[in-house]
Symmetry: C2
Amino acid sequence: MGRWEPDAAGRLREAAIELFLERGYDLTTVSDIAERAGVTSRTFFRYYPDKRGVLFGGTEALETAMTRAVAAAPPEAGAMDAVGAALEAAAEVLSGNRAYASKRQAIISTHDDLQERELVKMAGLAHVLAGALQSRGVPETAARLAAETGIAVFRVGFDRWVTGIGRGSLPGVIRVVFGELRALSA
Amino acid sequence: MGRWEPDAAGRLREAAIELFLERGYDLTTVSDIAERAGVTSRTFFRYYPDKRGVLFGGTEALETAMTRAVAAAPPEAGAMDAVGAALEAAAEVLSGNRAYASKRQAIISTHDDLQERELVKMAGLAHVLAGALQSRGVPETAARLAAETGIAVFRVGFDRWVTGIGRGSLPGVIRVVFGELRALSA
């Protein structure tokens, strides 16, 4: 199958989510997903390493958005302001597809293995964010603290948005949670 | 486990750490550890589920210390003050054995699998801490935010203490990092 598949990655992702919810994650195979999406398994592996990978694409886009936002923050912005800009930029990346995010979260919440992978993903984002802050001249210790707490804010805000506890757009929810952290820490 | 107690669990732990550092984690077996500690493999399994488990004992003691400290905080204490008390109480539990903590960290840092397990442990602590805050009447959303950021502070402080970047006792280092978070968020 050398032919170009229009948005095969997106169709495979939708098919995978449907099947994980219908049959359960464990009982769904790569060939089930490929069949549902109308492509071959070979096409599947062109886009994703395995069925778990379908749920963890897009990390690079988040990293890039955060890194750019930190670099673009005004020189006088403090570490936490730069973190706030990074979180909103990452939120913009995810904001368009709440229905998908919600289904994905439902699948992840039922599997320890997937939850671990999500923790690793978040730890990776914190690492990238800390690196971006250091590139602005924030000392390593402060950069790590600001990045780790920032990612904690992001996770809490993301959960509120996905479950509907937090109303409105994801960047807006993240902004509210960030404000709450400032108020709690005051 | 009291540090004064020359019990089998403690001896097995010391033996495991020695061997993981000498031979590497992957090349060390349960029977190597038991032999070094002068006990049988059967005794090993009375204390630990597997060799990885040796590095992840003591979670319950941390959870108990944090839960008690949150419950014992004065009624007028805010969520973040209660979190501060919990982190210091958890730090007291670990504070007596920096040499062990440092070796353990060195082993964990070289293995993705162990790092993932550590992330899961920390996520579990955040969950317990959030529950303790809710028992004080802190609303769920604020409890989760305070707990997640609190555990981020704990991880950053713990790393500084283990690596020697943070001087003095672990509770003291955690207190400093907590103060930095307040300053950063101000």
